[in-house]
């Protein structure tokens, strides 16, 4: 939970649902510790959490006195996973529309849509992904009828009602095949729509409060206002594109709109323009396993995409978790990038880089790398106390978290899935139906 946003109102709400767990000081000792900053794991190391923050992490320190100590022998410690660009908290059952707030196809609004009001901390998927070691995430809506999908948020996955870390953390625009379709049928139209929208945002920012806008406008008032922080570079703009040519075109937008604080999302062909991305210092979020020409804009897909971009100096994080690309799969995807280092001709990531691609790098790209407030996705003094204790190598398929702390608070790992599992571990129904087993 974000202490920054912890209001008296939230405290009341918390009191209503039961006693709020408190952050406890603790240490994990003798564990293999991976800091999440790109460095390789440290054996026989210690992590100390005090006041909900990381106090220390590394090897060769004395066991701290006066706080609970967990023996991490044979176990691993990492920062909590930062799952970038997810749909967490926006749906219960994806295909059940009433339970799903991911998109609003019939709304007259687009850029003004702010998903933070719909986030549901009681969503079973929050608990399930928390049990997989995910402690933070960014959440996005999906395009309705516009190239603008609206504004996403940053959340934590703590078992408490206050999940919102930062609302309106970014705006989303689609400028590839999807954007072309939404804009009326071509990329050409998508770019005109985009430029016009930013012009309307500039205009509305320039007129005195209460004055009328020009009559020649397409955007609703709310949408134009929503784009003001984008054009001013105050709010990040996530641009969904896949094709190499589309990435070049997006990078060129900065000559026209120099303040745009862009993140490229998708970038399946990013490896082909890695030098341009590096020079432009525009970070990227990718689905690392993409290796098929699933669309024409992804013709050159390869799993070496993230490795090649990283090698070229691009800041690349793993992201785009939605549908059955579950956030808890992040470690498996990172592990696959390590696997590539053994495949002739492929470019993968070192183990430390791979962990960083699901922790500190996506946090940093999201503006949560310590730019303001405590850093997320990393074990270093002052960072948020998001710590995961694993029963083995965190990127390996056989491993799972045994303990998860968020802001120093020990989290429950029970989920609807573990309840189902425990109910049906035995199929015996001799004495009572299963409905009585709970």
């Amino acid at each position: 939970m974000s202490r920054r946003l912890f209001t008296s109102l939230a405290a009341i709400a918390t009191a209503l649902v039961g006693a709020q767990a408190q952050a406890q000081d603790f240490a994990v000792t003798h564990a293999t510790v991976a800091l999440g900053d790109g460095t390789e794991p440290i054996s026989d190391a210690t992590v100390v959490v005090r006041g909900g923050r990381i106090a220390a992490a590394g090897a060769g320190m004395a066991t701290p006195a006066g706080i609970p100590v967990i023996d991490g022998t044979g176990k691993w410690v990492t920062p909590g996973i930062f799952a970038a660009y997810t749909d967490l908290g926006l749906w219960d059952v994806d295909a059940v529309d009433e339970s799903n707030d991911k998109s609003a196809d019939d709304s007259p609004f687009n850029a003004a849509l702010d998903i933070s009001v719909a986030l549901n901390p009681a969503s079973e998927h929050i608990a399930i992904n928390r049990a997989g070691g995910v402690t933070r995430a960014s959440v996005t809506g999906f395009n309705g009828k516009s190239i603008f999908a609206g504004q996403g948020a940053v959340i934590d996955l703590g078992a408490d009602p206050q999940m919102l870390v930062q609302p309106r953390a970014f705006q989303v625009v689609s400028l590839g095949e999807n954007g072309a379709k939404l804009a009326g049928g071509s990329r050409v139209a998508a770019y005109v729509t985009f430029r016009n929208a930013l012009r309307e945002a500039r205009d509305i920012a320039a007129i005195p409060a209460g004055a009328d806008r020009k009559s020649d406008v397409l955007l609703t008032h709310a949408d134009a206002v929503a784009l003001v922080p984008v054009v001013q570079g105050v709010q990040k703009l996530y641009v969904e594109v896949e094709r190499a040519a589309d990435i070049r075109a997006v990078l060129a937008l900065r000559t026209e709109f120099p303040k745009l604080d862009m993140v490229i999302v998708g970038a399946t062909e990013g490896w082909m323009v890695a030098a341009d991305l590096a020079a432009a210092k525009v970070p990227v979020l990718v689905m690392p396993m993409n290796d098929l020409p699933a669309q024409f804009e992804q013709i050159a897909a390869t799993q070496s995409n993230i490795g090649r971009m990283t090698k070229a100096g691009v800041k690349v994080g793993i992201g785009m978790f939605a549908g059955m690309n579950q956030p808890r799969y992040a470690p498996q995807q990172a592990g696959n990038m390590v696997a590539l280092t053994k495949v002739p001709g492929a470019t993968g990531l070192s183990w430390g880089q791979a962990l960083a691609a699901i922790t500190s790098i996506p946090a940093d790209i999201t503006g949560m790398g310590g730019q303001k407030g405590a850093a997320q996705g990393v074990l270093k003094p002052g960072a948020v106390g998001d710590v995961v204790l694993w029963d083995g190598d965190p990127l390996e398929l056989s491993s799972a978290p045994v303990k998860v702390w968020i802001d120093g608070i020990d989290q429950p790992l029970t989920t609807r899935q573990t309840r189902l599992r425990d109910r049906y571990k035995s199929l015996d129904r001799t004495y009572l139906p299963k409905a009585y087993d709970w």
């Binding site: 699933a294 013709i299 390869t302 049906y424």
Partner: protein, 462 residues
């Protein structure tokens, strides 16, 4: 439901109402044709697949998983004349004339098999022009054959081979329809034609689907079925009509009823998309009512609730490791599904239903095993391998031909650069019928489909 079009593949095709169906493969026609007064005297669209030339090959010194639950340390596998010649320990001598491959530190398994794929009928790129998996124009279409939709140039076949070690797969029609049509089993070899991939002697299968998809697809059209009871009514009447056809004089050929007759005679298998425990129980009773057998329930996310019933009925559960929640009938999926089934002695098959998932069936199986271990169900590596090799083959009716490393079976094998149940391992070499069709050390042993030729990324490591 809305997701990024560019990542629509992150959703199961089944969830989208993109129909997934299973159909049978080729070899059953002989017996059936005799009933047709010679009308279909030849198996139509016969397989033209011939194994590619291979060299006698010895994989020496690796850990061998035979696909039937055996593990051999420091093992030797001999491939010759397209077949598995011998499998043994360090004492198995390598005869003269064999290419010797040092497999020390590496692992050998049978070729991976996916019982549920839509490669070719929902190919990449995912464009309307090639979207040929669902004949969603009538609730029962047992007359359509998935093989007539398969685009052999789908780049997905090569990814399944190179990253997944897949040597055999069953391509199904989708699940929009109660009876989606015939599935086809193919060898994963690049081919100009589907006949050139068709698995010789594999039985056909009928893809059936219960639950949400058929009732939604047809309910939205304002026609029957629009409910689960409608699903059953349409199915039951169709079986009654099929029985009448079977008992009739066959004077007038009926393509759909020929398929259903094959099912009733036990020549065509039934691969049944079905999620919920209660519906699977109803479907098994429907099978009893009309005298056929369900071979496997696909996507059976609730199979763990009726593991005993599935075992008693000898029906396999073909499942993902841990997909859940994407639709109402998938709400109760849990990662321990496979392990709980295994514990109950039921048949487990790990399937993909995805051009991405098919590249990592080994990883899905490893995840599912790990979930079981955490609740005290220990399943050894060698007992997990059959989930994506022999068990799949058996449920596809080709367990006597492939799916395990046993003398005389097809020389379908994968040399992995590490334990296939580790996230850090990948196929290093893949043989189909003794022919090496992928070699990580040889860039020219990466198949490039016509579609990818001359486009960015051609021949790249994928």
């Amino acid at each position: 439901m809305r997701n990024w079009p560019a990542m629509v593949r992150a959703l199961p095709l089944a969830a989208m109402g993109v129909a997934l169906m299973l159909t049978p493969a080729a070899g059953v026609a002989k017996k059936k044709d005799r009933d047709k007064d010679g009308a279909a005297a030849q198996t139509p669209y016969p397989s033209t697949y011939r194994p590619y030339p291979g060299r006698p090959t010895a994989l020496v010194g690796g850990t061998v998983f035979d696909g039937r639950g055996q593990r051999i340390e420091n093992g030797t596998v001999l491939l010759k004349d397209g077949k598995v010649e011998a499998v043994g320990g360090a004492d198995l001598a390598v005869p003269e004339g064999y290419d010797r491959i040092d497999a020390r530190g590496k692992f050998v398994t049978p070729g991976v098999i996916d019982i549920h794929s839509h490669l070719g009928d929902y190919p990449s790129p995912s464009v309307e022009a090639n979207s040929d998996g669902n004949e969603a124009t009538a609730p029962t279409t047992p007359d359509v054959w998935a093989e007539h939709s398969v685009w052999p140039q789908d780049p997905g076949f090569s990814r399944a081979l190179m990253n997944g070690g897949v040597t055999t797969l069953e391509i199904l029609p989708g699940s929009a329809n109660l009876m989606g049509g015939r599935a086809i089993t193919v060898k994963n070899v690049p081919s100009l034609t589907v006949q050139g991939m068709k698995f010789p002697g594999a039985p056909y299968a009928l893809k059936m689907a219960c639950g949400e998809n058929p009732k939604r697809v047809y309910g939205e059209k304002g026609q029957k079925p629009s409910t689960r009871m409608g699903n059953f009514a349409v199915n039951r009447q169709t079986w009654i009509d099929a029985r009448a056809y079977m008992d009739g004089d066959h004077a007038q050929r009926d393509l759909g009823k020929e398929t259903l007759e094959g099912v009733l005679k036990g020549e065509i298998l039934v691969q049944n998309h079905c999620y919920r425990a209660d519906e699977m129980a109803l479907v098994m009773d429907m099978a009893k009512e009309f005298g056929y057998k369900v071979t496997a329930f696909h996507h059976a996310v609730e199979a763990y609730k009726i593991a005993d019933l599935l075992k008693a009925n000898d029906v396999c559960a073909a499942i993902w490791a841990d997909w859940y929640g994407f639709k109402m009938e998938a709400h109760d999926g849990i990662p321990e599904n496979a392990a709980l089934l295994q514990q109950a002695g039921a048949c487990v098959v790990i399937h993909s239903d995805s051009e991405d998932g098919i590249q990592r069936l080994n990883q899905a199986a490893a995840s599912a095993r790990a979930a079981g271990r955490r609740i005290g169900i220990e399943i050894a590596d060698e007992a997990v391998i059959p989930w994506f090799t022999y068990n799949a083959a058996k449920a596809m009716g080709i367990g006597d031909k492939t799916g395990s490393l046993e003398p005389g079976k097809m020389g379908d094998a994968v040399l992995w650069n590490g334990n296939p149940l580790s996230v850090y391992s990948r196929p290093e070499k893949v043989w189909v019928d003794g022919a090496m069709l992928y070699d990580a050390d040889d860039p020219k042993r990466r198949p490039v489909s016509d579609f990818e030729l001359g486009l960015p990324g051609e021949g790249d490591v994928k």
